[in-house]
């Protein structure tokens, strides 16, 4: 089925997903210990960012959900990969030109051998 897509399928999948989410929520509430209804459990908690705690030196960010840490799990799991990427983006004009020369040499080599 090339190039075939029907919006209805997505509506169905979406509805099934909603039902699943509702059932999961029900199940979690039933089997939970009640900590989510009272006390600290009611606060929205994004990856270690407690909205009520004031970090010294960061008062201007107090109480903001900045979204800084939303993808904490991803960035932490791949931190070596991201460190390599960051190190490669040196911001040095000479490096940019070197990459261009390397790219040209690579394409030239490939085309001369297999072109």
């Amino acid at each position: 089925m090339l190039g075939y897509w029907d919006a209805l399928y997505f509506v169905f999948v979406f509805i099934i997903g909603l039902i699943l989410a509702y059932l999961l929520d029900k199940w979690a509430k039933r089997s939970g210990m009640g900590t989510r209804e009272t006390g600290d459990g009611t606060k929205i908690f994004i990856s270690g960012e407690d909205p009520d705690r004031i970090i010294p030196g960061f008062e201007h960010l107090e109480g903001n959900y900045t979204g800084r840490n939303v993808m904490w799990g991803l960035t932490y799991a791949l931190k070596n990969f991201f460190a390599v990427l960051r190190r490669d983006h040196t911001g040095l004009l000479t490096d940019y030109a070197s990459y261009l020369v390397i790219t040209t040499a690579f394409v030239l080599g490939v085309l001369l051998i297999w072109g």
Partner: protein, 119 residues
């Protein structure tokens, strides 16, 4: 016969690229850009110069073409190089203007100082 102009043209291009990669001063980089451009211009002009029957070609003037005895050089590369020189001057002036501004903001012409934007 060795065609010296082709060798010189490719030497100029290689020299320019080497200078661009090895030099640290922004003005020298501007010069390197121009050397690369000049090398390509030399290549283009040399491509248009064709010796036919051991006769030196004349300027490409179309009026009275039928009565002309000797061959003409290719008119197209000359037009291309003229256009390309104009473009090169454009690039040169903009590059020098940016270099002046960079000196005002950074106080140096060292290309290694221009790396506040990274990551």
């Amino acid at each position: 016969m060795i065609q010296f102009q082709f060798i010189v043209a490719f030497l100029m291009i290689a020299l320019g690229i080497y200078a661009f990669l090895a030099k640290r001063n922004l003005l020298k980089l501007v010069l390197a850009l121009n050397i690369i451009d000049s090398g390509i211009h030399l290549l283009l002009i040399s491509l248009g110069y064709r010796m036919e029957l051991n006769e030196v070609p004349t300027a490409p003037i179309y009026t009275g073409y039928e009565t002309l005895k000797s061959p003409m050089v290719g008119p197209l590369p000359q037009a291309l190089v003229l256009t390309s020189i104009v473009i090169g001057v454009c690039v040169l002036s903009l590059a020098v203007a940016l270099t002046i501004n960079a000196y005002r903001h950074y106080g140096t012409l060292d290309v290694r100082a221009l790396r506040r934007l990274r990551g």
